[in-house]
Amino acid sequence: MAESAYKEMWEKLNLDIDAHEGLLEVLGKFYGDIYLSQQGRLQGAEYLDFVLSEVHGLRIKELQDAKAQGRKIIGSFCVFVPEELTLAADAVHVGLCSGADAGTEMAETMVPRNTCALIKSFVGFKLAKICPFTESCDVVVGETTCDGKKKAYEAFAEHVNMYIMEVPQQKNACDHDLLRAEMKRYMEELEKLTGKTIGVDDIKKGIAIANGKRKAIQGLNALRKADPAPISGRDALLINQISFYDDPVRFTAKINELCDEIEARIEKGEGVAPKGTPRLLLAGCPMAVPNWKLPYIVEGSGAVVVGEESCIGSRNIRDLVDEDATAKATTVDELLDLLTDRYMKIDCACFTPNDERLDNIADMAEELGAQGVIHYALLFCQPYSHEAFKVDKTLQAKGVPMLAIETDYGMEDVEQLKTRIEAFVETLES
């Protein structure tokens, strides 16, 4: 998947070269089977293929170049970590993917076996020395969204430079205050790290970039209302995944181009699947690269995925920082308030109660014309597994059928999942 020209760079990053090669090989094969085999793909997907083929190559080189210029690299695992502030500090913000089953056995020496695959993956990637993003980070920002992560970060901190951000679990005024204080504390941490004082214009710039990225994906999602579906769910997921680690300005431009192409396609009535193909919404846990298992199975079962209610999906892009208010703001404090307002709208399952999410899923299903919802929870993920029951109830009341899936990154349940998903699609058809 990448050239040996990068070998020197990987060696410098202290990757385990053999293990890393193995990972790239699997990733490349996976990508070929799941992505390149698709019919009628958009031309703009070339960008996706390119980014992915260079994910451990060119992009890492860019990170090293940025570092050489004195910029800092911040890694995160959660959409609660405000990218706007990272950008305001002129640092690079990358989402650490953790979507593959690698280094799991090593991870299990540090975290309990009954831990979700996402946690095991980020720990495993580090211990197995196969992730050049993790190795490039100056700081990894963790957050207290679930007990699994909270405790895993304690162990992880023995291996990377960790900073922990507290995320509230309710949405009262005092919780708002807590997040507001955490925004400030994160900003100060960035200032310490970069030696730069963050000013009003810096934050405004950060907000503009992050909002721009979110608006591009919002535009894409709006186009997905069309029937026939103009883009596959796999490609859409990939776009959401790439949004976490490609350069945000380049990403925004490319996605806007892609949206133009999609518009032209919709005008011609073309799509990736025939008109009338059953449309499904995926809802639940984040699907980090290269976790393409579920959309691949769904789209191999005669359905098309038209939306992702997930952190690698709508939850990350639905809300913008208020642009008018940002334009009028004159102090850092005001801007931190606006950021806090935006982030408090995130409907992560770690909140209690979290009823907004139920409405959001129902709204999304309606807007996108989805006939059914597949709720996805990683095995051992308490928050999302719990919410599956509530989501089901809400959707049932609206007459939208739902299928709850609990799985991990392993492949041993693929046949069973196929049967369940195909059967679910059959119930929508006949």
């Binding site: 349940d413 369940r420 059959e426 119930t427």
Partner: protein, 259 residues
Amino acid sequence: MFAGIDIGSRSIELILLEDGGVVRSGRLPTTFDPAAQCRTLLDGVRPKRLVATGYGRSLMEKLAGELAPGLDVQTVTEIKAHALGAHHRFPEARTVLDIGGQDTKAIALLPGGKVGKFEMNDRCAAGTGKFLEYTAGVFQIPVEEFGTYALQGDAAPDITSMCTVFAETEATSLMAQGEKPQNIALGLHEAIVKRTANMLSRVGLQFPVVFAGGVAHNPCVRELLSRKLNARLGEELLVSDDPDMNGALGAALWAARQS
């Protein structure tokens, strides 16, 4: 003529329909070469359409060209096939339970035999035919006789493990403690039934219930399940003479319906 073939983990069943009636049925163990078994079953058969179901359903799509050029092959899931088969045999049925070799499914039926809600075991073989096969091995009894043997028990010890392998361990340790083997066998059957009843309640159990799949032959599971579901008079489980052909029948019906 229309054909339905159910390629399961343990056996393969074939049903041929003509003018709405079954004209031929056949059954072979799956073995390690299911393709060869399919060929044998379909030897000389030229249906207008063949619908495959079961765990190996996609195998038939691959075999299609080789079996007969231009043969129209389609697939449906076991869930749909069992719903169609059960509805055909028992039009009044509201719920279907299918316990096969490696899967257990509970299906709520809508009018007309459509699937409402369904549940399926994920990942492991707990509570499936495999569980019985495996544990019967501990008693060195053919699985076909295991149910009758278990019915001789009078007090079932609690088998707490749903895991096939752990349940075996539990059974052997109960034996070591001197528990009557018939009772242990009964306990193992109880364990399956408990799990199955939970699954049925998750799809919103409604009577009448059709019990299909190979395990429906097992008298002990049938007996315990009727008791557990508290079947009132006239609401016992509906079991056909050949419950293991239900999936193939459903597939054949779907083949015929597509005209």
